[in-house]
Amino acid sequence: MNLRDSRAVTVNHLEAENLQLWRGDRHVLKGVEFGLGKGECLQVTGTNGAGKTTLLRTLCGLMVPEEGRVLCEGRDVRADLPAFHSSLMYLGHEAPLKADLTARENLHYWIGVRRRVAAAGLDAALARVDASAWCERLVRTLSAGQKRRVALAGLALMFAPLWLLDEPTTNLDADGQQVVGSLIAEQLARGGAIVVATHQQLPGAVRAARVLELAS
């Protein structure tokens, strides 16, 4: 394989320009602005209902702001959404897992739709989140924390330059939080960018480059 036949996508600079969004009568995003460089982490805080999830969904293009733009490398991401999407990984608060598939199968189908996955890569990702022991069990038999770990394995396996994480530490024990912390640190160290929405402190030794507080 060479890099030429892959879509080499980079995220050196992500920028939000005056994002405005209404839901019904509610003005949810009131002119959100920020810039994010490579290897940087932006923490979005705010009370429940302040629009953290809405902001993440707007950044990744699921929701369309009434005003404002999201720019990646200076270009409006809506100009080429598929290219932007293949450079990002969005993890909502629910892990996109099927109860009737094993943890390993879930990863195989979920990430396999997006990129080629070798069995070795799959095993490595599962080992990274300490899931090797139970990765052949059906997801319906797993605890909430274990499901969260499978989602994190997907994050590690996808290897995307931009991560959009919604409350990544929910349901995780101390060990699990450490895993999140080290995944984030790794991603930043290799030049990836992260937007993480959480009202808790970031796990591990990670410090956000910037904190964006949303007022409700």
Partner: protein, 245 residues
């Protein structure tokens, strides 16, 4: 700029004011044409040599049936504009069209059925036009039902718009399959709507009424669009400024 008019139309306050100014220009001619047309059709036109006085119901039935289809097309086009250019007022127009169109459809069905009784001896026959009209009513009901199922206007607008476009693509297909279906089963004694040539004295009132109904729809649409805009923009500042000033 050539597109200025398009952008001006897209602004709710502008359209709100424009609709108010235009309404009388449609409403009055519509009233005159409908009254004149009905007088000409119900009093002046000669009775049909075959159907007697009963044929006069076409003066309400045909324009209603025509409008039911035209409103659907208007609705579909407005919905497409709203979906493609994310234009809020276009969605307001599409949403306003649906109840008007459904009412015309009901009027066409009821008058068709009333006409059927003296002509065929039953209140209902599976004539292709009446059947198509009935399916159209279900399309309208589906559109309104889908819109009502959403909590927020934005998603109701966009989902409804998609359904209206899918319906618009489907209406001709449904119409021709119904005609095809009917041609297989048709009993030779059944009278067909419209087809026979109509003498001028009977045709003129019909044309007047078609125009009158179209203008009536336009006036009704303008009024409804204003109400729809008011409701959607109820929190906007221009509303309180317009209403108090």
């Amino acid at each position: 700029m050539r597109w200025t008019w398009f952008h001006r139309l897209a602004s709710p306050p502008y359209l709100y004011g424009l609709a108010a100014r235009l309404t009388p220009w449609f409403a009055w001619p519509a009233a005159l044409l409908i009254l004149g047309g009905l007088f000409a059709g119900l009093v002046l036109a000669p009775p049909d040599y075959q159907q007697g006085e009963g044929f006069r119901i076409i003066y309400v039935h045909v324009p209603s049936a025509w409008m039911s289809l035209m409103v659907y097309v208007t609705m579909g086009l407005a919905a497409a504009v709203g979906l493609i250019w994310r234009m809020k007022v276009a969605h307001a127009i599409a949403a306003s069209c649906a109840p008007i169109g459904a009412s015309f459809t009901v009027a066409a069905l009821v008058t068709g059925s009333l006409w059927g009784k003296p002509m065929w001896g039953t209140w209902w026959v599976w004539d292709p036009r009446l059947t198509s009209e009935l399916i159209l009513l279900f399309l309208y009901l589906g559109f309104m039902g889908l819109r009502a199922g959403f909590d927020d206007t934005q998603r109701a607008d966009r989902a409804g718009a998609l359904l209206a476009i899918v319906g618009l693509v489907n209406v001709p297909i449904i119409h021709y399959s119904v005609i095809w279906w009917n041609s297989l089963h048709q009993a030779p004694s059944v009278l067909r709507f419209g087809k026979p040539t109509i003498p001028g004295a009977m045709l003129a009132p019909l044309l007047i009424l078609l125009l009158g109904f179209t203008l009536f729809f336009a006036a009704l649409l303008l009024v409804r669009v204003r109400a729809e805009i008011l409701q959607r923009e109820r929190t906007a500042r221009w509303i309180s400024e317009t209403l108090s000033g």
